[in-house]
Symmetry: C2
Subunit: 411 residues, 2 copies
């Protein structure tokens, strides 16, 4: 009746058994009268194994070496290519016609940013032609190709970017995102035992939660889904339960003040002191850092008595290596000095109801104060409040905030 | 000084250590002033592992299923793609610029015969452009792409086809084929203990030997090398010994009556009886079988008293499945009957000197007779003699023929 794009993550295609189970879902959706496109990730630990191989080659001889990003992408795109072929075989073995495509083969064109490429276009005609012949179309997630024919990967959660981009260009009725959890939770259930599955959440809330550490779906994928108004259904590949629907905002959803809480561990604060206080200096600094495609957050700028400025911001620990060279170059050019504070975390609450309800921030700060957690910095948006705290208190912070807003109770 | 194409087989790139050793050879050749192109196979048992994965998926649920060849190629091309990326990293880590290309990325265009595709053209400009920038260019062996963008594999020994095709289009001074043996031997040294490494062999002899079971280099690759007169140097990747040069015929080489002996085990003879004896019937039969791209050999046709013909030929046991359907269809259309005799072998001798020396066949037959080995069928060409024998006597046959022509003694 409609067009469904299904995506199966690495744990959902981890072995032959699981691949067949995923194949059965696709065939079933097809038997129910839908046209079906399937996006798959690399099997289980394949990507880790490939990275390990690259490490072995690059550590060889005792001189650690950072591999060229182009070659890293050339290596990593093979992971998804293995899965698409196996998935096509599984669906064919179940008696349904299927055809697999790499990102390049469906003309999923990206920019040149190896390891963090952005999707620019998709040749939907190649997919429609196969769907019209009754085939299930399988597409490799996480990858694309530049106009010059270089393979690129889409960065963390890239398969979800593929899912939503396909949903958008094919004007799908739904994007089904199959994972190993039942949906989106009010907080990470590995930390907060009484976390509750959310039935419905808005694109905006999901974007904030993703950006703040909820790992199921990436901000970029949700942003894209919002732009093209494609509903996403996050489901468990191991059962048939309804999962979490990510949808456009409705009137009723405004009554929920806080939808969920999120935690980002392992942040580093970069502080740059003795920056000449002249117009455009912040743009210069963050322009350099943006060139490394690293997300920076919690930016603070203070102007000192001596007319120099101190600028600080946080980055994820894993991104530090990428910006280190830019920071060093900046400080030497500006005569400034950089210092780094590790072991920070960020606890956040998100909800579109905040726009119309008061006292939300106070309740959060009080909960943290009651638990003797010191807040080092606060940032807010219309629908979220974030507090930078010590990494050692991160789990406790998430739990007390979750409790303060009674997120375990359904609305 | 020149342009060298080097090829490293699966055992020569089996781990990080070996990849670095291969990388060092490429860098060394470059430091000596050459332009270097490197062709690599999949690492060690990667291809076997991928086939095993496909088997698991296709055997799942107890109903064995033959995977679509397109999807099998989609799967298998990933093996070489992993190696090219790792090789590029290893060379870069050694301080030399390198860039890797898949078959598709250098426009290695093939026909549509998945699993046994033929090379049609290579976009050499893309390679020259990189060589001119001083880079070592790494190319994935065994694979190509159709004009429609489908991935294909080149069949058994496909990486050697890539090596020689590159040697030809780039007009290389030499194609270095690195393996785990010191060169081409007068017979398989695992069977004939006193087999001797050959210093020089002609394209024609090598083609015959390859077709007859010598596994180092495939007929097709040598044929191509001959056509474009590209010398091939078969060498051991683990040492610096001179290997075997495969070159155009010279006057002096004619003095060698027999250059080598070869053995093919595990042949099956297909016999088709009661075939109507009318013109064109053989063409019909072998046309059908050729469509399956299987090499048939030792063809015999006898016309019986009742005006029906009996046609027999041998195929390798592994190819039987591919032609079985064609044979069944033929027999039912022609009212003929097929039978199959397994456990056959073929022992052969090859040498361009045969053209000008007499008594060669007699000496071979006598050696087999002395060892009480029954010859079931004989085929000859200008430079080879082959005898079909029982598989059980195959190793003995190879040894006695090798002894009869004193192949262990250098000429």
């Amino acid at each position: 009746m409609g067009l469904i794009v299904q995506k199966f993550g690495g744990t959902s295609v981890g072995d032959a058994e699981k691949i067949h189970r995923a194949a059965r879902r696709a065939v079933q959706a097809c038997d129910e009268g839908n046209q079906v496109v399937v996006v798959v990730s690399a099997m289980g630990h394949t990507t880790d194994h490939l990275i390990e191989l690259a490490d072995q080659v690059c550590q060889h001889g005792g001189k650690p070496y950072t591999p060229p990003k182009r070659e890293m992408d050339q290596l990593l795109v093979t992971g998804e290519q293995v899965t698409i072929a196996l998935m096509a075989m599984a669906i064919s073995a179940q008696g349904h016609e299927a055809i697999s495509f790499t990102g390049g083969q469906i003309g999923l064109i990206t920019d040149q940013s190896f390891s963090k490429a952005r999707i620019q276009s998709i040749d939907k005609q190649r997919i429609f032609k196969q769907l019209e012949q009754g085939k299930i179309v399988i597409v490799a997630g996480f990858q694309g190709i530049t106009p010059e024919g270089e393979y690129t990967t889409l960065g963390r959660g890239g398969s979800n970017a593929t899912l939503v981009a396909l949903g958008a260009v094919l004007k799908a009725d739904v994007c089904e995102n199959y994972t190993d959890v039942d949906g989106i939770y009010t907080a990470d259930p590995r930390i907060v035992k009484n976390a509750r599955k959310i039935d419905q959440i808005t694109y905006d809330e999901m974007m904030e939660l993703s950006g703040l550490g909820a790992s199921v779906l990436q901000t970029r994928a949700v942003e894209f889904a919002k732009k093209y108004n494609v509903p996403i259904h996050v489901r468990n590949s191991q059962n048939d339960h309804e999962g979490t629907w990510i949808v456009a905002e409705t009137r009723k959803m405004e009554d929920i003040v806080v939808s969920g809480a999120a935690l980002k561990k392992d942040l580093i604060r970069v502080t740059i002191k003795d920056v000449p206080d002249r117009p455009g200096i912040a743009a210069t600094i963050f322009g350099k850092i943006a060139a490394a495609k690293v997300v920076v957050d919690d930016i603070i700028q203070n102007v000192m008595m001596d007319k120099t400025a101190t600028i600080s911001f946080t980055v994820e620990r894993g991104d530090l290596a990428d910006i280190r060279a830019s920071v060093d170059q900046l400080t030497s050019e500006l005569g400034a000095h950089a210092s780094f504070q590790a072991d920070l975390a960020k606890v956040s609450i998100v909800g579109i109801g905040m726009r119309t309800h008061t006292g939300v921030a106070e309740r959060m700060f009080q909960a943290l104060a009651d638990a003797k957690i010191n807040i080092q910095n606060i940032t807010t948006s219309e629908i979220k409040i974030s507090c930078i705290i010590d990494k050692g208190q991160a789990d406790t912070a998430l739990q007390v905030v979750h409790d303060a807003f009674k997120l375990d109770k359904a609305r």
